[in-house]
Amino acid sequence: MGDHKPTGISRWLFTTNHKDIGTMYLVFSFIMFLIGGAMAMVIRAELFQPGLQFVEPNFFNQMTTLHGLIMVFGAVMPATVGLANWLIPMMIGAPDMALPRMNNWSFWILPAAFILLLSSLFMEGGAPNFGWTFYAPLSTTYGPPSTDFFIFGVHLMGISSIMGAINVIVTVFNMRAPGMTLMKMPLFVWTWLITAFLLVMVMPVLAGAVTMMLTDRHFGTSFFDAAGGGDPVMFQHIFWFFGHPEVYIMILPAFGIASAIIPTFARKKLFGYSSMVYATASIAFLSFIVWAHHMFTVGMPVKGELFFMIATMLIAVPTGVKVFNWVATMWQGSITYETPMLYAIAFVILFTIGGFSGVMLALTPVDWQYHDTYFVVAHFHYVLFPGAIFGTMAAVYYWMPKWTGRMYDEKLAKVHFWLSIVFVNLTFFPMHFSGLAGMQRRVPDYNIMFSDFNMWSSIGAFGLGLTQFLFLWILVKTCMLKKGEKATDQVWEGAEGLEFNQLPSPAPYHSFSTPPKVD
């Protein structure tokens, strides 16, 4: 088979190629990252000082809601799906994803879904304003008319995610090259396989939740209405049954990325490969039985609170195994600090901070104090920004030479890294303090005692936002202007795996039309 590429716009619209689809996912994700980031800037501008400066409270709520939804469903998830598309076939020695046409469909549903969601900004009554968790009755009885488009948008995202996940599972189970046994698979493939299981299990539950919302809003059902015998708290249970596995859906692929990058630059084999696999599986299993730790203050029976507290703290065990394994991999390695490694190390340290604040939040009596404060905002931004997003950035720097055949500008990339890490901490670290002091999330105004912390957070956020344009420039320079020295086939001195050992850089349009032999 020749290495012919179709040309023009139809190459992208009608493609069945996993690399093209991966690229589209990544580009889409970056666009959403900038849009969601712009909304974060609006939020931080308003919070720069106490009092109301720039926006109406209702618009502020729309910004927090859309920022969350766009970052979760539009930026982080599609970014990891894009990486999965690019990498999984190359890593397991497959010619493509198992179901290539469905693969393209699951991508093209996303723009449709987000056009619907974003168009709600221009509708009468404004965009959804009830937070990304869309609790009933805020979203049922009191939701603006645009809520219906949000609901159908979520349905579309769900269809896309489920198809994408099924594709990954089938590809991993059925398309591995001979000799590539399950326990030889790179950890990125493992973590994505487990992520895909989570997606298949919980996205339909989310679809069920929004369907109940829809019928409560328009067809007279009483799922979340106590007067009809339902219960608004039930919405929270159903939502978080989806929502908690969802946070692992966002972070597990980043675990896999760290597990690929750290051994390369430490020039050692990954410490405790099989324990990494089992730890990932345990985290995924536990994620199904901890959901109510998001709702400790809602008035659950004490037995329930105890169960969810203990189950939640258990997650720290397999997560700890992973962190120790990464550290042990670096131990006595001959480490060099190229940009992907810097991001991976930052990921390990800062994700762990987010993990620790998570254990604090898991303690029921303590959570009664922290609930819905900026401490929670600090916690989940530490696991998402320096966690999931740094993980994605690490992956982009690490595999970009393999994708494009060119090295990125290492100097600029290091600047990007150092600015990012300074600003990310400047943005989110003070939130721990304002939260502990009692500042509530999702409110546009605050007591003047929180002024300093908020000013620092806002300065950090603006810096962090601007820094990402440097990232954009680095990407444009490497991928579109084709500047930068040629990458070798192995790219990195210590890199292992089929994509580095068996394929040239850039990887051909159709890699592995005959499967490689894996010993």
């Binding site: 046409r101 393209n104 449709a112 099924i166 919980v202 106590a226 015998g229 039309s513």
Partner: protein, 295 residues
Amino acid sequence: MSEQTNTEYEKYYVPEQSKLPFIGSIGLFFTALGAGKTIQGEDFIGIPGGLVLTFGILVLIFMLSTWWAATIRESMSGLYSAQMSRSFRQGMLWFITSEVMFFAAFFGALFYVRILVMEWLGGSSNNAATHEFLWPEFIPNWPMEKTPGGETTTGMGAWGLPAINTAILLFSSFTLTIAHHALVEKNRATLIQFTAITAALGVIFMGLQIWEYIHAYTEMGLTLGSGIYGSTFFMLTGFHGLHVTVGTIFLIILTIRCAKGHFTPQDHFAYEAGAWYWHFVDVVWVFLFIFVYIL
């Protein structure tokens, strides 16, 4: 790269470019947009919401039928390897898993309401004040014939139509299995007959289900709006009915394909997928019958 002797891995059919996925996304977009506009009774640039919705659904139907026709053509012309058909099989199983989880959300709501909410609204645990001050008249029982807000309705009994429907669906699983065995044993006449009988049973089931709904709405005062009992009843049986409809269409197409001489004893993925789907719908019904109707 080393020589490959394992013929199974020799070629994996990666289809050429296809317009269908993109068309499908356009269809989904207009379906969602139209559904939203219809619900709100609004226009989209002057076109009534219902029309947009219909357009979206038609595009989707066109796209899906073209897509499946293409896969049937590819399958019949021998492009698919054993590995390919394993991909389809596994994909179908995971699709059914996701469907199971969709129903799990609604069953979860049913259990949560019956086990916890009923008692709480009745004032148990720390909810005495809720009961005392908000709805002192409310008596928790199931079927909830009077909501806290005062809506009344009647519970649907299990041993009339629903029991007959249960028998029909269980019997249809049986006839489908006979047909599947006939396929493996190359008994084409039995295959066609029993697949057709299964599809017919699906149609009869749906007919009875519609009759039950009409009865509920017109005579029993049981509607979607009759509190949480009506909500769970109609959403669970309704989504099940939707799946029976899809399954029946699937079976009708399989009957036609059997009559055209498609499927071999070794290679009949579509038939298996249809059979799995039908059994899944059947199992969901058994749970429905137990938890919605009997208990």
